[in-house]
Assembly symmetry: C2
Homo-oligomer: 213 residues x 2
């Protein structure tokens, strides 16, 4: 299809697609004339991926570039999947955590029986959040780590189970990236719904107070 | 304390604090001389909140302004908490979902027995993510919604339980905001760890392949 049709089908304006082409986020089409190129289903899929990571995942264009570069990287072994699960651009922030919080997360990992490396960047990322929560006076999260870990494990087991349907490692890797970024938004929205429900159940209401709206 | 000490204790540079003061994110200190003001523990706490929402929550300054404005809004009834749980700036995106995905989320809410309003913005937010996943060929999420809902419920029950320790509605509201934004980052990091564990357990390894690193 031509650029105009790619724009129509994807709903992404032509100048935006041209920008992604210039930035290298989207690979060039097959040149058919001097100033005309053909695009295929692969381009359409990639365009949808970029928009989903941007609009719903809230990733920056730089972070999306990192994600796409990782997808394009060579290597087809299952080790790639583990590297993907840990990718910093996918939300794990560079660690600045000090000792105690890191030890707490390591202890949690042990209690959960999770087979992960002690230098997994997600451990530092979790510790950093714990530290920030504590600086804000929220000491309760340290005790609630196990509830969060159970929640995380339920979602992650489903994420990994779903990879069985993928044809190859590259497909699994894309599924993992999409699932991580968009799945996080899904989990966040569902958590809000569940919070609203539990708030209605637990928070004592004053007489005559309704929780409507 | 003076501005220089507030900067030292919080680790936030003086020009940045002055910027937050100009933008109204931080309330003015108590003026003691023509060009000198005193700041208290409230300022320090607010400054830590801004930095946590910014650095760890990844919120924009505009979104942080919305969150802080909501915290300052009048009203002390429990209805405030429900509005807080739904606040768009806290990650639920404006809905663009069409019919089918919304019905799927509504059916999920019913299966879970969650008492939430059918026009809760988090329903549209979840539906929008489902739609985007489907456009990317990830139809499996529709079947995995219940696993995600269980995960969300586990975390949310813990979130709401923790509110019991707060002294008043204002304290609960801040706890909910901090818990939502930072708790999401914590949940994300723990999900990566759990994924790594489940990947190691499930993905078949080729002969001689190690998953180390």
């Amino acid at each position: 299809m031509r650029l105009s049709e790619l724009s129509r089908v994807s709903g992404v304006p032509t100048p935006t697609i041209k920008f992604y082409l210039r930035e290298g986020l989207l690979s060039p089409g097959l040149r058919t004339h001097t100033n005309q190129a053909q695009y295929d289903q692969g381009h359409l899929h990639r365009l949808r991926l970029i928009r989903a990571l941007l609009d719903i995942g809230g990733l920056s264009l730089a972070a999306i570039g990192d994600v796409l570069a990782a997808l394009a990287a060579s290597g087809t072994g299952p080790g790639r999947l583990l590297r993907t699960a840990r990718q910093p651009a996918l939300g794990t922030t560079p660690g600045q955590a000090d000792g105690p919080a890191t030890s707490e997360v390591l202890a949690l990992v042990q209690r959960q029986g999770w087979r992960v490396s002690p230098d997994d960047p997600a451990i530092e990322a979790a510790a950093e959040v714990l530290d920030a929560l504590r600086r804000l006076g929220r000491h309760d999260f340290a005790e609630r780590l196990d509830a969060y870990a159970r929640a995380a494990d339920t979602a992650a087991a489903s994420d990994v189970e779903a990879l069985d349907r993928c044809a190859d490692i590259a497909g699994m890797e894309e599924a993992l990236i999409i699932g991580n970024v968009l799945g996080e938004r899904l989990l966040a929205a569902l958590r809000r719904l569940a919070q609203t429900h539990h708030l209605r159940e637990r928070v004592p209401l004053g007489r005559g107070t309704t929780l409507r709206n």
